[in-house]
Amino acid sequence: MIAKLFGMRLPLAIFVLSVLVFLSVGSSIIYSTLINNLVEDGNWLHIKTDICELNFPKQWYLDKGSSGEGNKTIYIINLFSDDLQTIVHLKFYGKAATQDFMKENNLTDVSLVPNFEAQRIYNWSLSQSGNATLHFVEEKPELLSFITEWARNRGYNIHYLLINIKNAYEVRNVYYNTTGLFISLMMDHQRLLEIIFYGEENSWEKNQDNFKKVLSSIKISEIRDRT
Protein backbone atom coordinates (compact mmCIF):
# COMPACT_ATOMS: atom_id res chain seq x y z
CA MET A 1 0.00 0.00 0.00
CA ILE A 2 1.36 3.48 -0.89
CA ALA A 3 1.18 5.65 2.21
CA LYS A 4 2.24 8.95 0.67
CA LEU A 5 1.95 10.77 -2.62
CA PHE A 6 3.84 14.01 -3.36
CA GLY A 7 4.96 13.97 0.28
CA MET A 8 1.38 14.04 1.52
CA ARG A 9 -0.77 11.38 3.08
CA LEU A 10 -2.56 9.55 0.29
CA PRO A 11 -6.14 10.75 1.08
CA LEU A 12 -4.90 14.33 1.42
CA ALA A 13 -3.05 14.04 -1.90
CA ILE A 14 -6.21 12.65 -3.54
CA PHE A 15 -8.21 15.55 -2.08
CA VAL A 16 -5.76 18.19 -3.31
CA LEU A 17 -5.58 16.55 -6.75
CA SER A 18 -9.38 16.34 -6.94
CA VAL A 19 -9.80 20.04 -6.12
CA LEU A 20 -7.20 20.90 -8.76
CA VAL A 21 -8.95 18.67 -11.32
CA PHE A 22 -12.35 20.27 -10.61
CA LEU A 23 -10.78 23.73 -10.89
CA SER A 24 -8.82 23.05 -14.06
CA VAL A 25 -11.68 21.26 -15.86
CA GLY A 26 -14.09 24.08 -14.98
CA SER A 27 -11.64 26.79 -16.00
CA SER A 28 -10.81 25.04 -19.29
CA ILE A 29 -14.48 24.78 -20.24
CA ILE A 30 -15.05 28.46 -19.41
CA TYR A 31 -11.98 29.44 -21.43
CA SER A 32 -12.98 27.38 -24.46
CA THR A 33 -16.56 28.72 -24.29
CA LEU A 34 -15.15 32.23 -24.25
CA ILE A 35 -12.80 31.62 -27.18
CA ASN A 36 -15.48 29.89 -29.27
CA ASN A 37 -17.96 32.74 -28.93
CA LEU A 38 -15.79 35.82 -29.28
CA VAL A 39 -16.66 38.09 -32.19
CA GLU A 40 -15.56 41.45 -33.56
CA ASP A 41 -12.12 42.38 -32.22
CA GLY A 42 -12.37 39.89 -29.39
CA ASN A 43 -14.31 42.26 -27.16
CA TRP A 44 -17.80 41.06 -27.98
CA LEU A 45 -19.60 37.76 -27.57
CA HIS A 46 -22.15 36.18 -29.85
CA ILE A 47 -25.03 34.26 -28.33
CA LYS A 48 -27.87 32.34 -29.88
CA THR A 49 -30.97 31.91 -27.73
CA ASP A 50 -34.34 30.26 -28.38
CA ILE A 51 -35.73 33.51 -29.67
CA CYS A 52 -32.89 35.48 -31.19
CA GLU A 53 -29.18 35.82 -31.67
CA LEU A 54 -27.19 38.88 -30.77
CA ASN A 55 -23.77 40.26 -29.91
CA PHE A 56 -22.96 41.88 -26.60
CA PRO A 57 -19.84 43.25 -24.88
CA LYS A 58 -17.95 40.42 -23.17
CA GLN A 59 -17.78 42.35 -19.90
CA TRP A 60 -21.56 42.72 -19.76
CA TYR A 61 -23.75 40.21 -18.00
CA LEU A 62 -26.56 38.52 -19.89
CA ASP A 63 -29.48 36.82 -18.24
CA LYS A 64 -32.17 35.06 -20.23
CA GLY A 65 -35.33 33.16 -19.53
CA SER A 66 -38.92 32.61 -20.44
CA SER A 67 -42.15 32.72 -18.54
CA GLY A 68 -45.82 32.17 -19.10
CA GLU A 69 -48.22 29.30 -18.90
CA GLY A 70 -49.53 27.32 -21.82
CA ASN A 71 -49.31 29.32 -25.00
CA LYS A 72 -48.70 32.65 -23.27
CA THR A 73 -44.97 32.63 -23.74
CA ILE A 74 -42.77 35.60 -22.94
CA TYR A 75 -39.03 35.41 -23.64
CA ILE A 76 -36.85 37.82 -21.75
CA ILE A 77 -33.22 38.81 -22.26
CA ASN A 78 -31.58 41.21 -19.84
CA LEU A 79 -28.17 42.71 -20.55
CA PHE A 80 -26.45 44.49 -17.68
CA SER A 81 -23.58 46.89 -18.31
CA ASP A 82 -20.26 46.18 -16.57
CA ASP A 83 -20.97 48.84 -13.93
CA LEU A 84 -24.42 47.26 -13.40
CA GLN A 85 -25.97 50.71 -13.72
CA THR A 86 -27.60 50.24 -17.11
CA ILE A 87 -29.82 47.53 -18.49
CA VAL A 88 -30.96 46.56 -21.96
CA HIS A 89 -34.18 44.65 -21.52
CA LEU A 90 -35.63 42.70 -24.43
CA LYS A 91 -39.08 41.19 -24.06
CA PHE A 92 -40.52 38.99 -26.79
CA TYR A 93 -44.21 38.17 -26.46
CA GLY A 94 -45.91 35.26 -28.15
CA LYS A 95 -49.22 35.84 -29.88
CA ALA A 96 -51.42 34.90 -26.93
CA ALA A 97 -49.09 36.65 -24.47
CA THR A 98 -49.33 39.85 -26.54
CA GLN A 99 -53.12 39.76 -26.44
CA ASP A 100 -53.07 39.11 -22.69
CA PHE A 101 -50.59 41.90 -21.99
CA MET A 102 -52.56 44.45 -24.00
CA LYS A 103 -55.87 43.38 -22.45
CA GLU A 104 -54.63 43.22 -18.85
CA ASN A 105 -53.18 46.72 -19.08
CA ASN A 106 -56.02 48.26 -21.10
CA LEU A 107 -53.70 49.05 -23.99
CA THR A 108 -55.62 49.41 -27.23
CA ASP A 109 -52.59 50.04 -29.42
CA VAL A 110 -48.91 49.15 -29.48
CA SER A 111 -48.03 52.84 -29.57
CA LEU A 112 -49.23 53.12 -25.96
CA VAL A 113 -46.77 50.50 -24.68
CA PRO A 114 -43.69 52.76 -24.29
CA ASN A 115 -45.68 55.27 -22.24
CA PHE A 116 -47.15 52.49 -20.12
CA GLU A 117 -43.68 51.03 -19.34
CA ALA A 118 -42.19 54.48 -18.69
CA GLN A 119 -45.00 55.23 -16.28
CA ARG A 120 -44.45 51.91 -14.57
CA ILE A 121 -40.76 52.66 -14.02
CA TYR A 122 -41.55 56.18 -12.87
CA ASN A 123 -44.05 54.83 -10.33
CA TRP A 124 -41.39 52.46 -9.08
CA SER A 125 -38.94 55.39 -8.80
CA LEU A 126 -41.53 57.32 -6.80
CA SER A 127 -41.70 54.44 -4.35
CA GLN A 128 -37.90 54.64 -3.96
CA SER A 129 -37.54 58.39 -3.89
CA GLY A 130 -40.46 60.66 -3.04
CA ASN A 131 -39.13 63.63 -5.01
CA ALA A 132 -38.59 61.83 -8.34
CA THR A 133 -39.78 63.85 -11.34
CA LEU A 134 -40.46 62.61 -14.85
CA HIS A 135 -39.27 64.50 -17.93
CA PHE A 136 -39.81 63.62 -21.57
CA VAL A 137 -36.63 64.04 -23.64
CA GLU A 138 -36.48 65.08 -27.26
CA GLU A 139 -32.92 66.36 -27.63
CA LYS A 140 -31.29 63.08 -28.65
CA PRO A 141 -31.61 63.33 -32.43
CA GLU A 142 -28.66 61.07 -33.18
CA LEU A 143 -29.95 58.13 -31.13
CA LEU A 144 -33.54 58.59 -32.24
CA SER A 145 -32.58 58.75 -35.91
CA PHE A 146 -30.49 55.62 -35.43
CA ILE A 147 -33.51 53.78 -34.01
CA THR A 148 -35.75 55.00 -36.80
CA GLU A 149 -33.19 53.87 -39.37
CA TRP A 150 -32.78 50.49 -37.64
CA ALA A 151 -36.54 49.92 -37.70
CA ARG A 152 -36.90 51.04 -41.32
CA ASN A 153 -34.17 48.66 -42.48
CA ARG A 154 -36.01 45.78 -40.85
CA GLY A 155 -39.47 46.79 -41.91
CA TYR A 156 -40.73 47.44 -38.39
CA ASN A 157 -43.16 50.13 -37.43
CA ILE A 158 -41.77 51.24 -34.10
CA HIS A 159 -42.95 53.48 -31.29
CA TYR A 160 -40.53 54.96 -28.81
CA LEU A 161 -40.29 57.27 -25.86
CA LEU A 162 -37.24 58.80 -24.23
CA ILE A 163 -37.52 59.88 -20.62
CA ASN A 164 -35.37 61.26 -17.86
CA ILE A 165 -36.22 60.81 -14.19
CA LYS A 166 -34.62 63.33 -11.87
CA ASN A 167 -33.83 62.01 -8.38
CA ALA A 168 -34.93 58.55 -9.45
CA TYR A 169 -33.28 56.77 -6.55
CA GLU A 170 -31.16 57.46 -3.53
CA VAL A 171 -28.03 55.70 -2.35
CA ARG A 172 -26.38 56.89 0.90
CA ASN A 173 -28.10 60.27 0.75
CA VAL A 174 -27.03 60.86 -2.87
CA TYR A 175 -29.77 61.16 -5.47
CA TYR A 176 -29.26 59.75 -8.95
CA ASN A 177 -30.99 60.60 -12.22
CA THR A 178 -31.94 57.96 -14.72
CA THR A 179 -32.58 57.92 -18.44
CA GLY A 180 -34.70 55.44 -20.31
CA LEU A 181 -35.51 54.65 -23.90
CA PHE A 182 -38.66 52.60 -24.40
CA ILE A 183 -39.29 50.98 -27.76
CA SER A 184 -42.21 48.83 -28.78
CA LEU A 185 -43.04 47.22 -32.07
CA MET A 186 -45.39 44.59 -33.35
CA MET A 187 -43.92 41.77 -35.39
CA ASP A 188 -46.21 40.14 -37.97
CA HIS A 189 -48.92 42.47 -36.60
CA GLN A 190 -49.50 40.14 -33.65
CA ARG A 191 -46.34 39.62 -31.60
CA LEU A 192 -45.09 42.38 -29.37
CA LEU A 193 -41.41 43.15 -28.88
CA GLU A 194 -40.36 45.56 -26.15
CA ILE A 195 -36.87 47.01 -25.95
CA ILE A 196 -35.97 49.05 -22.91
CA PHE A 197 -32.61 50.78 -22.53
CA TYR A 198 -32.60 52.19 -19.03
CA GLY A 199 -30.03 53.24 -16.48
CA GLU A 200 -28.28 55.80 -14.39
CA GLU A 201 -27.83 58.97 -16.46
CA ASN A 202 -24.01 58.90 -16.85
CA SER A 203 -23.78 55.15 -17.32
CA TRP A 204 -26.61 55.31 -19.87
CA GLU A 205 -24.77 58.01 -21.86
CA LYS A 206 -21.56 56.00 -21.74
CA ASN A 207 -23.26 52.84 -22.98
CA GLN A 208 -25.20 54.35 -25.87
CA ASP A 209 -22.79 53.07 -28.50
CA ASN A 210 -22.90 49.58 -27.01
CA PHE A 211 -26.69 49.69 -27.10
CA LYS A 212 -26.64 50.66 -30.76
CA LYS A 213 -24.29 47.80 -31.57
CA VAL A 214 -26.42 45.31 -29.61
CA LEU A 215 -29.53 46.51 -31.39
CA SER A 216 -27.86 46.26 -34.81
CA SER A 217 -26.76 42.69 -34.14
CA ILE A 218 -30.16 41.29 -33.12
CA LYS A 219 -31.50 38.61 -35.44
CA ILE A 220 -34.93 37.50 -34.33
CA SER A 221 -36.00 33.92 -34.93
CA GLU A 222 -39.60 32.95 -35.30
CA ILE A 223 -41.51 33.26 -32.02
CA ARG A 224 -43.49 30.09 -31.41
CA ASP A 225 -46.19 29.91 -28.80
CA ARG A 226 -45.86 27.01 -26.41
CA THR A 227 -48.60 24.47 -26.80
Binding site: F15, I29, P57, K58, Q59
Partner: protein, 163 residues
Protein backbone atom coordinates in the same frame (compact mmCIF):
# COMPACT_ATOMS: atom_id res chain seq x y z
CA UNK B 1 -15.98 5.18 30.59
CA UNK B 2 -18.89 2.91 29.75
CA UNK B 3 -20.19 2.03 26.30
CA UNK B 4 -23.20 4.33 26.47
CA UNK B 5 -20.98 7.34 27.25
CA UNK B 6 -18.66 6.58 24.32
CA UNK B 7 -21.57 6.42 21.88
CA UNK B 8 -22.94 9.69 23.22
CA UNK B 9 -19.65 11.51 22.59
CA UNK B 10 -19.29 9.95 19.16
CA UNK B 11 -22.70 11.32 18.29
CA UNK B 12 -21.71 14.80 19.47
CA UNK B 13 -18.49 14.69 17.40
CA UNK B 14 -20.41 13.58 14.33
CA UNK B 15 -22.87 16.46 14.77
CA UNK B 16 -19.96 18.90 15.27
CA UNK B 17 -18.46 17.49 12.04
CA UNK B 18 -21.79 18.26 10.35
CA UNK B 19 -21.78 21.79 11.73
CA UNK B 20 -18.21 22.31 10.50
CA UNK B 21 -19.44 21.17 7.07
CA UNK B 22 -22.35 23.65 7.26
CA UNK B 23 -20.15 26.59 8.26
CA UNK B 24 -17.57 25.65 5.61
CA UNK B 25 -20.23 25.55 2.87
CA UNK B 26 -21.45 29.04 3.68
CA UNK B 27 -17.96 30.47 4.16
CA UNK B 28 -16.59 28.88 0.97
CA UNK B 29 -19.73 29.81 -0.98
CA UNK B 30 -19.12 33.49 -0.18
CA UNK B 31 -15.36 33.19 -0.78
CA UNK B 32 -15.65 31.35 -4.12
CA UNK B 33 -18.42 33.66 -5.29
CA UNK B 34 -16.36 36.75 -4.42
CA UNK B 35 -13.16 35.44 -5.99
CA UNK B 36 -14.94 34.32 -9.17
CA UNK B 37 -16.74 37.63 -9.38
CA UNK B 38 -13.46 39.51 -8.95
CA UNK B 39 -11.65 37.37 -11.56
CA UNK B 40 -14.43 37.72 -14.13
CA UNK B 41 -14.71 41.46 -13.60
CA UNK B 42 -10.95 42.05 -13.65
CA UNK B 43 -10.61 40.03 -16.85
CA UNK B 44 -13.73 41.66 -18.30
CA UNK B 45 -15.34 38.34 -19.24
CA UNK B 46 -18.50 38.39 -17.14
CA UNK B 47 -20.57 37.79 -20.27
CA UNK B 48 -19.26 34.26 -20.69
CA UNK B 49 -21.52 33.17 -17.80
CA UNK B 50 -24.49 33.63 -20.12
CA UNK B 51 -23.59 30.34 -21.81
CA UNK B 52 -24.91 27.04 -20.51
CA UNK B 53 -21.46 25.44 -20.90
CA UNK B 54 -19.84 28.12 -18.74
CA UNK B 55 -22.58 27.80 -16.12
CA UNK B 56 -21.95 24.05 -15.97
CA UNK B 57 -18.22 24.68 -15.72
CA UNK B 58 -18.79 27.06 -12.83
CA UNK B 59 -20.91 24.35 -11.22
CA UNK B 60 -17.97 21.93 -11.53
CA UNK B 61 -15.67 24.49 -9.89
CA UNK B 62 -18.17 24.93 -7.05
CA UNK B 63 -18.38 21.18 -6.53
CA UNK B 64 -14.64 20.91 -6.00
CA UNK B 65 -14.03 24.07 -4.05
CA UNK B 66 -17.15 24.19 -1.89
CA UNK B 67 -18.66 20.73 -1.46
CA UNK B 68 -15.56 18.53 -1.63
CA UNK B 69 -13.62 20.90 0.63
CA UNK B 70 -16.45 21.27 3.16
CA UNK B 71 -16.90 17.51 3.30
CA UNK B 72 -13.14 17.19 3.77
CA UNK B 73 -13.11 19.64 6.71
CA UNK B 74 -16.11 17.97 8.37
CA UNK B 75 -14.47 14.57 7.90
CA UNK B 76 -11.15 15.85 9.18
CA UNK B 77 -12.66 16.84 12.52
CA UNK B 78 -14.75 13.70 12.88
CA UNK B 79 -11.78 11.53 11.92
CA UNK B 80 -9.62 13.33 14.50
CA UNK B 81 -12.12 12.61 17.27
CA UNK B 82 -13.32 9.17 16.23
CA UNK B 83 -10.84 6.46 15.25
CA UNK B 84 -13.00 3.36 14.82
CA UNK B 85 -15.44 2.21 12.15
CA UNK B 86 -14.46 5.06 9.82
CA UNK B 87 -16.20 3.40 6.87
CA UNK B 88 -19.53 3.80 8.62
CA UNK B 89 -18.94 6.94 10.69
CA UNK B 90 -17.69 9.09 7.79
CA UNK B 91 -21.06 8.93 6.06
CA UNK B 92 -22.72 11.06 8.72
CA UNK B 93 -20.89 14.43 8.98
CA UNK B 94 -21.58 15.39 5.38
CA UNK B 95 -25.12 13.96 5.42
CA UNK B 96 -25.99 15.90 8.58
CA UNK B 97 -24.25 19.03 7.27
CA UNK B 98 -25.86 18.75 3.85
CA UNK B 99 -29.31 18.30 5.38
CA UNK B 100 -28.75 21.42 7.49
CA UNK B 101 -27.61 23.38 4.42
CA UNK B 102 -30.63 22.11 2.51
CA UNK B 103 -33.08 23.01 5.29
CA UNK B 104 -31.58 26.50 5.65
CA UNK B 105 -31.69 27.11 1.89
CA UNK B 106 -35.28 25.92 1.80
CA UNK B 107 -36.19 28.04 4.82
CA UNK B 108 -34.66 31.18 3.31
CA UNK B 109 -36.40 30.59 -0.02
CA UNK B 110 -33.37 29.67 -2.16
CA UNK B 111 -34.93 26.31 -2.89
CA UNK B 112 -38.56 25.77 -3.76
CA UNK B 113 -40.49 22.59 -4.56
CA UNK B 114 -40.84 23.88 -8.13
CA UNK B 115 -37.05 24.08 -8.52
CA UNK B 116 -36.57 20.57 -7.19
CA UNK B 117 -39.43 19.08 -9.20
CA UNK B 118 -37.35 18.14 -12.23
CA UNK B 119 -35.01 15.16 -12.08
CA UNK B 120 -32.07 17.07 -13.58
CA UNK B 121 -32.44 19.88 -11.03
CA UNK B 122 -32.68 17.58 -8.04
CA UNK B 123 -29.66 15.62 -9.32
CA UNK B 124 -27.71 18.84 -9.70
CA UNK B 125 -28.82 20.38 -6.41
CA UNK B 126 -29.00 17.33 -4.14
CA UNK B 127 -27.48 14.09 -5.47
CA UNK B 128 -24.18 15.26 -6.99
CA UNK B 129 -23.19 17.75 -4.22
CA UNK B 130 -24.11 15.12 -1.62
CA UNK B 131 -21.92 12.46 -3.27
CA UNK B 132 -19.01 14.89 -3.66
CA UNK B 133 -19.40 15.93 -0.01
CA UNK B 134 -19.37 12.27 1.05
CA UNK B 135 -16.15 11.70 -0.89
CA UNK B 136 -14.64 14.75 0.80
CA UNK B 137 -15.74 13.50 4.19
CA UNK B 138 -14.06 10.12 3.65
CA UNK B 139 -10.88 11.75 2.37
CA UNK B 140 -10.80 14.02 5.44
CA UNK B 141 -11.48 11.20 7.87
CA UNK B 142 -8.84 8.93 6.37
CA UNK B 143 -6.28 11.75 6.05
CA UNK B 144 -6.20 12.22 9.82
CA UNK B 145 -6.04 8.46 10.45
CA UNK B 146 -3.50 7.70 7.71
CA UNK B 147 -0.51 7.14 9.92
CA UNK B 148 -0.22 3.39 10.28
CA UNK B 149 2.77 3.00 7.99
CA UNK B 150 4.46 6.13 9.28
CA UNK B 151 4.30 4.76 12.86
CA UNK B 152 5.71 1.41 11.72
CA UNK B 153 8.51 3.19 9.82
CA UNK B 154 9.34 5.30 12.89
CA UNK B 155 9.42 2.21 15.13
CA UNK B 156 11.74 0.38 12.71
CA UNK B 157 14.13 3.36 12.52
CA UNK B 158 14.15 3.64 16.33
CA UNK B 159 14.91 -0.06 16.64
CA UNK B 160 17.75 0.26 14.11
CA UNK B 161 19.22 3.21 16.03
CA UNK B 162 19.09 1.26 19.29
CA UNK B 163 20.83 -1.78 17.78
Amino acid sequence: MNLGEIDYWKLIHIVIGGLIYLISVFFLEILVQSITDWIFRTMGIYGVLAYKEAQNAYYIIRLGTIYLSSGFLGGLYTGYKIKEKLKLIMIFPSIIGFLLVFILQYFFGYLTPAVLASLSNSTKIIVVPMLVSLSGSYLGGYTINWEVEEVIEEKISLLLEES
